[in-house]
């Protein structure tokens, strides 16, 4: 069984060398921290990943949650994980100190542990991620009373938080949410309705579960304009902290392809008309609030996919270095000893592919996290600009790692051949686990429409302009390096093509309406994603080239040379894929709009 699941060397490279997280220390919010603190966070998280999460990776997969009489029994270690994440300050890492948090930057407090835990054991890592998101929503929009009631228990890992959006009849169509909230004169609402696919919506690892639920106050307008946000605890607090069952019933769990260590539940609210919910913020503004959590969850999903792919990469790398098979093509002597399969170019190609996906994705995700941190500490136009960049890149940072994670873990299986297909090795689990990511928290199709139909157009295209300027800054930094100047030029060409493709699609929108405009939005997202990852690889290679100028020990020299090679791989093998996509995106024949349903018969 492979031991390594993520490279802390690489995380340090990204955080310190590429994105200079220390720049944040100058802001009052983070002034109490230091590089030493950041290092310690990473070191401790690596230890927890190794000792707490990784050892039960396969166990949690093989012993799925069980639904017994309305309860969901999960692996006993889930309780330990939640308690240790609470006690160690991991759930509250980025929260304000006045709420009991550590007030760490997102890049450190959120990205580092989420990445490390997810790489060690994705299913095990989602419990506290969900608690963080739900508590964060209460922190942002809840009343002081809500904060006092819920946040301490949630940050302590005693109470689970959830995000309850999906309903059976609505699926991705949030317009069609019907869970109802009836006002009472007691300050609460009477909740009634069903939610499906709710992660960690019920389980034995915690003492209570706090659902952040979207629903409709009776009499609200139809569609998304009538959606409000509520806190609905499984057990509500009455009197001096006594807990009373709040009529939230778990009706069942799903049996899934992968991601089996986490229970995905069906919930019934108010079956006995005894379910109370408390409005968060103003009525009918719930979807906007929820999207704070949703956007963070989308980054988490991208990160989860990148980190499962990371574990898959190291597992297949270890195998490739150890497994002898065949000889170099230039060697014709059948009596010569066999070579480890890493010596074969095709195996190296697959390893480079995996690494390019993993480290390119991580880089983009930490880039987003930097924008998030800078948004938090800046004001005025800067604040808006960082927010726009983060908003624009969120569907990309969610989708590229998720979609490519499938291919990356599949390449990992392929490296192991028949053994990759067997349960004795972890690859087949990674391949199953990673398949959830293009689905949950908004499918790839939804992300494509978000990017092209909303984000590229918002504020008259300002986000897109800011983004192009960011990429061109990276190109300018690279173009004088003789090793990188061809890549800088290739990326500049890609940007020019991106502008052309985007203008063409906007033209379609004006002339032919939204169906034609968005018909290939998924492909546009794929196209945009490849260019975004090329940007990140150019940045990484630029930093690596700079480091290679200095005097380095062998391990560091290998590391930076590996970065430059992987950048070359990306520009040589991945970036050219935009050519075919551009041909398609520029053709706009409306094939999928005009295809009749009946033509699928037979």
């Amino acid at each position: 069984m492979a031991e390594k699941f993520i490279s802390d060397r690489n995380l340090k490279f990204l955080l310190y060398e590429l994105f200079d997280v220390e720049q944040l220390l100058k802001y009052p919010r983070y002034a109490d921290h230091s590089r030493e603190v950041f290092d310690m966070v990473m070191q401790t998280a690596m230890k927890m990943g190794k000792d707490l999460f990784k050892p039960i990776l396969s166990e949690m997969d093989k012993n799925q949650p069980e639904y017994v009489h309305g309860e969901v029994k999960v692996h006993p270690q889930v309780r330990t994980i939640m308690r240790e994440c609470g006690a160690g300050g991991w759930i509250g890492a980025t929260f304000d100190s006045e709420l009991g948090g550590q007030q760490l930057p997102e890049m450190i407090g959120m990205m580092v542990p989420t990445a490390i835990f997810a790489a060690a054991n994705y299913s095990g890592s989602v419990y506290n991620s969900l608690a963080i998101g739900a508590a964060g929503l209460i922190a942002s929009y809840g009343t002081q009373e809500m904060k006092d009631l819920y946040i301490p228990k949630m940050l302590a890992g005693e109470w689970q938080g959830t995000m309850a959006l999906t309903e059976p009849q609505a699926g991705s169509s949030l317009t069609d949410i019907t869970l109802t909230a009836e006002a009472t004169d007691q300050g609460y609402y009477r909740m009634k309705g069903q939610k499906i696919f709710i992660s960690a919506g019920e389980h034995t690892g915690v003492d209570n579960i706090i659902h952040l639920v979207i629903g409709r106050i009776k009499g609200s307008p139809p569609g998304v304009k009538g959606i409000s946000l509520f806190v609905v605890p499984k057990k509500r607090i009455e009197g001096k902290g006594g807990l009373v069952f709040n009529d939230v019933n778990c009706a069942g769990i799903y049996h899934k392809l992968g991601y089996r260590g986490a229970p995905i539940t069906q919930l019934a609210f108010g079956e006995n008309d005894e379910c109370r919910g408390w409005l968060v913020g103003e009525p009918n503004k719930g979807l906007g609030y929820m999207f704070q959590m949703m956007n963070e969850a989308r980054i988490d999903v991208g990160l989860g996919a990148a980190c499962i792919s990371s574990a898959a990469y190291y597992a297949s790398l270890e195998y490739a270095k150890e497994r002898p098979q065949g000889r170099k093509l230039s060697s014709k002597d059948p009596l010569a000893p066999q070579v480890p399969i890493i010596e074969h170019a095709d195996i190296k190609r697959m390893l480079l592919f995996q690494r390019a996906i993993v480290e390119g994705s991580l880089s983009l995700l930490i880039q987003c996290s930097l924008y998030h941190d800078l948004e938090k500490v800046s004001t005025g136009e800067d604040h808006e600009n960082y927010n726009l960049l983060l908003e624009l890149l969120t569907p990309v940072a969610k989708t590229y790692p998720s979609e490519m994670g499938i291919l990356s873990c599949s390449a990992g299986i392929q490296i192991l051949g028949g053994y990759g297909y067997c349960e004795e090795f972890p690859l087949e689990q990674f391949y199953r686990d990673v398949r959830i990511h293009p689905i949950h928290e908004g499918t790839t199709g939804i992300q494509g429409m978000d990017l092209l139909g909303r984000k590229m157009m918002m504020k008259k295209g300002k986000a897109a302009q800011l983004y192009l300027a960011e990429v061109r800054q990276a190109i300018a930094a690279a173009q004088n390096d003789p090793e990188l100047k061809n890549f800088a030029a290739a990326l500049e060409n890609a940007l020019g093509q991106l502008e052309k493709v985007t203008a063409h699609l906007f033209g379609l929108a004006a002339k032919e309406g939204p169906e034609m405009f968005l018909a290939d939005a998924t492909l546009y997202l794929e196209y945009f994603g490849i260019i975004a990852i090329a940007w990140q690889w150019l940045k990484q290679a630029t930093a690596a080239q700079k480091a290679l100028q200095g005097s380095l020990n062998e391990a560091d020299a290998n590391f930076y040379n590996g970065k430059v090679y992987t950048c070359r791989y990306f520009f040589g093998y991945e970036l050219p894929k935009i050519e075919g996509l551009a041909i398609r995106l520029l053709s706009g024949d409306g094939l999928t709009v005009t295809m009749k349903n009946d033509y699928f018969e037979e």
Copy 2:
């Protein structure tokens, strides 16, 4: 649960309209057959698929084979399947009548039932496929005594056949086979050694198992030049048909990601020095013989992948037609009823993708089968030409459906969203099952080297020339149709590019040797495969356009229009992928050859 798993309408289109299987009736070998016989074969196979194979698809997945004291317990229906396939003449369908076969063309006797059974239940379908392959090898190269001893029992479905190549220390490297055969003066060899990953190498569904094993006669030259082929029964026949255990022990089975209904075994031959094997054909020529079976198995693998993808396609199509969710983008009224998701362009795109893969692959596979049939009935240069075409296209017909099958089944999951990830729907099983195909019977990497390093070069490139002529014939037939002339031109351009890319790579071979030449052979195979499927789609669209000239009922008009649309999809969305691949294949910077292993550290 989706009912439909394959379209017999489409099979008829391919067999009768596109490839004119009736042309074979003029040859003496098939003169006793008729269109009515072919129709009946298909009808009966469809009924068996529906009644015998499909009902246990999920059961066989959930109740995997169990290894108990050297025995492998499989689903009790495996015995029924084998017996019915035997009694119904399915195992012997393409065998000579003098051997007890039906003497049907491959296109009918092999492709039709294999496709239908595999689409219904892939794991359930491999038992008889393996028996067919092994019996075929005995029929081709065995002595009369072997034929008499084994073939009747194998064709009756009473005895299993296997193909035993892989060994623990060798994997894909057949050069390193070490299983030994020691000659005796009794006419048999004493066998000793291990084989791994042997499909159906031991199970309770048959009374005996006949292994076709490659090994080395003591004193043979090293490498592939010293490999011989043997028949090694699990129980050997002594005296008047009595069966005596032949010291072939099953040491265990693999627990796999998918394809769980079929046991993949580890075998130990001659642990007690009591294992007898009989040489097939001449000593040291075993690999050549084995490749008859292997080549057929590769076509079977491609067909299996295409057919799993077919079942996935119909399952997601059914869901897409029934599941209401969201509204057309042009509709802003949240109170309007929701539409079935097939109305969304992105869903249609995914369905078209699935269909393009499934029917494009099936078409290429039946094309190969036609070459196989024509090879059988022709002589002289024709015989050689059909053989060359089949040899050239075998790695393509194995790999394109296998690799694209993963993406196709993944798209099927995506159409169902969260439900696609759940065990209540069949998609997740298809996604697991189909992942084996790029691995077994020669990985994709092996196929790539076979295509570029061997097949494109053999007979001074004659196979490649024949292939180009075949494609150009299809272009000529399409280019006068105004609907198709752009596609004909696009394919002609692609062929020109293919010639350029191939010449470039041959140049690399001459200048820089085999490592550089074959470094991107896998990508070359992908590239070649896309063009080959475009060829098949152009042929299908040409036939459909012709049919659309006539007066048609509504179902037929929909079917042919669907064909034309799927062709448009392929040329609009899939063929452009060759542009990015060509850029890579023409660059030849040897990245994966020069990348140092140490650069992967950290």
